[in-house]
């Protein structure tokens, strides 16, 4: 009997917490009183402190998975070594870099004088890697357009024509070939039919998200809150 109750509590308590916080969070936006305002502010701070406490999960999870890769000499274990070494190395460098260096600001907790290595990590690795990986998109867009924008019916024709017109209107070469009226056409597409379509979608999303919120808060949809039912 007691076991049954405990296993129930494992589910009902989290569902209850989610329900209470959800309803309170919603109403604190509509109602103003001194206590609710103060509680909402503090509840948000509470959440951010509690959420920040979870950040070391990343460290544990990566150490666990890649550590096992190295230990069992799985395929590509050299790269796991690289990830592990770089992770702990840059953590230490990041913690130790506090003063500004060559115009860059750092957010270290301690003053270990590791700013120059931190500068290298940011300027030579993280910034260019992030921009370059993002810029791969320019190439993927070209190949996606080549494959996807084929006229197979009226739907794909609309997609193609609106895409191509906006595309041409964007680049200087479009106005160069077709004259400035193309620019007006592009602006019209963006500000009229595009606006209507996106507005329709956005209203749908609002309705859908309210429904989803209710399903989660009222416990009809339990998977997100329980993260696995057992």
């Amino acid at each position: 009997m007691s076991k049954l109750v405990l296993s129930d509590l494992k589910k009902t308590v989290p569902m209850g917490i989610a329900f209470v916080m959800g309803i309170f969070g919603a109403f604190a936006y509509f109602v103003y009183t001194d206590p609710t305002d103060a509680i909402l502010q503090n509840a948000i701070v509470f959440d951010s402190v509690m959420g920040s406490m979870g950040m070391a999960i990343s460290l544990g999870n990566i150490s666990l998975i890649h550590g096992k890769n190295v230990q069992r000499k799985r395929k590509g274990w050299f790269f796991s070594v690289l990830i592990l070494v770089l992770m702990y190395f840059s953590l230490i460098i990041g913690l130790g870099a506090k003063k500004p260096y060559l115009g860059q600001q750092y957010y270290g907790l301690f003053d270990w004088g590791t700013e120059s290595i931190g500068y290298f990590l940011v300027i030579a690795i993280m910034n260019p890697a992030s921009t370059t990986v993002m810029s791969l998109l320019a190439f993927y867009i070209a190949s996606a357009a080549y494959r996807a924008f084929r006229i197979r019916g009226i739907d794909s024709a609309i997609l193609l024509v609106s895409g191509a017109l906006v595309l041409l209107g964007q680049a200087p070469i479009g106005a160069y070939i077709f004259g400035p009226s193309l620019l007006d056409l592009k602006t019209w597409i963006l500000s009229v039919p595009n606006l209507a379509g996106s507005r329709g979608c956005s209203i749908g999303i609002a309705v859908g998200s309210i429904a989803m919120s209710i399903r989660v808060l009222f416990g009809y949809e339990r998977k997100p809150v329980l993260g696995g039912l057992e």
Partner: protein, 273 residues
């Protein structure tokens, strides 16, 4: 929050307590929309409510089946949003169904995570699905991977994973930003069947272009209710429909007023009380 800011908030209030002016219309509307959803959650217990087929949802099963036949893994990305975002929650719901199918069919599943706090939730769901299928020993920590907190470090890792593991099915449901097309294009390049869903409207065009099926905007939320084939949850989709009917009626009313009585703003004023 500094005390000055609280003073400002206090100074904006007409009285010591009450309803925020300008938000009453929203509150009423929230009640109405919520009422429809709860009404249909109740109605669905008594009778079956018809919901039309969503293209793409049946394809999820097919895609997993194909991966099983080919002996290649299934990859799942629950978006890169935070745990509190509704899109991520939809992703988790989809994941639980996908994991269930994969556990039944003994297909290898790889979940790729960007957010630290989503990682444990996905791990729990996958572990749970394998336990429910009686295959606890088949679950390994390696199935649910945490890649990196940086958006494009995650993208770099995910692209590499796609190329190396060569998944036969790639499922992406959740909140996505600029990396959407990269994931979809590389997934297409390795020959995976791709099904995606997102309410990030800026990214949907890319999913439509590069994936086999795509759930657009609200379809993601409806899909999350539909995928488990639970009649009660499925029924609540009809409640959503009433919300849209309400929106359509409001638009019609407002436009008619604007034509007949130019300058008369009673409806928008009513909504913004």
């Amino acid at each position: 929050m500094s005390s000055v800011l609280i003073d400002i908030l206090v100074s904006q209030r007409p009285r010591a307590w009450g309803l925020w002016p300008g938000r009453i219309g929203s509150l009423v509307l929230l009640f109405v929309l919520g009422f429809f959803v709860i009404l249909y959650l109740r109605l669905a217990r008594k009778r079956k409510i018809f919901i039309r087929k969503l293209p793409g949802l049946d394809a999820v099963d097919e895609a997993i089946g194909r991966a099983t036949e080919m002996g290649q893994p299934v990859t799942f990305v629950p978006g890169i949003g935070a745990i509190g975002s509704l899109d991520t929650m939809c992703g988790l719901v989809f994941l639980s169904e996908v994991a269930k199918r994969c556990a039944e069919l003994d297909t290898r599943l790889i979940v790729l995570n960007r957010n630290v706090l989503v990682q444990p939730a996905t791990a729990g769901i996958v572990r749970d699905a394998f336990r429910a299928a009686g295959k606890t020993e088949k679950f390994s920590e390696d199935m649910v991977r945490y890649i990196a907190p940086d958006q494009f470090a995650f993208a770099a890792g995910a692209l590499g994973t796609f190329k190396r593991e060569k998944p036969a099915a790639n499922l992406m449901f959740g909140a996505f930003w600029a990396e959407s097309l990269e994931l979809a294009e590389v997934g297409n390049d390795v020959g995976a069947i791709q099904i995606a869903g997102s309410s990030s409207m800026a990214q949907v065009p890319f999913f439509v272009a590069a994936c086999d099926y795509c759930l657009i905007g609200e379809e993601l939320y409806a899909g999350a209710a539909y995928i488990g084939r639970d009649p009660i949850l499925t029924g609540s989709i009809a409640g959503q429909d009433w919300g849209k009917v309400l929106a359509a009626v409001l638009i019609a009313l407002g436009v008619i007023t604007a034509w007949l009585l130019p300058g008369n703003k009673w409806l928008s004023n009513l909504l913004l009380i």
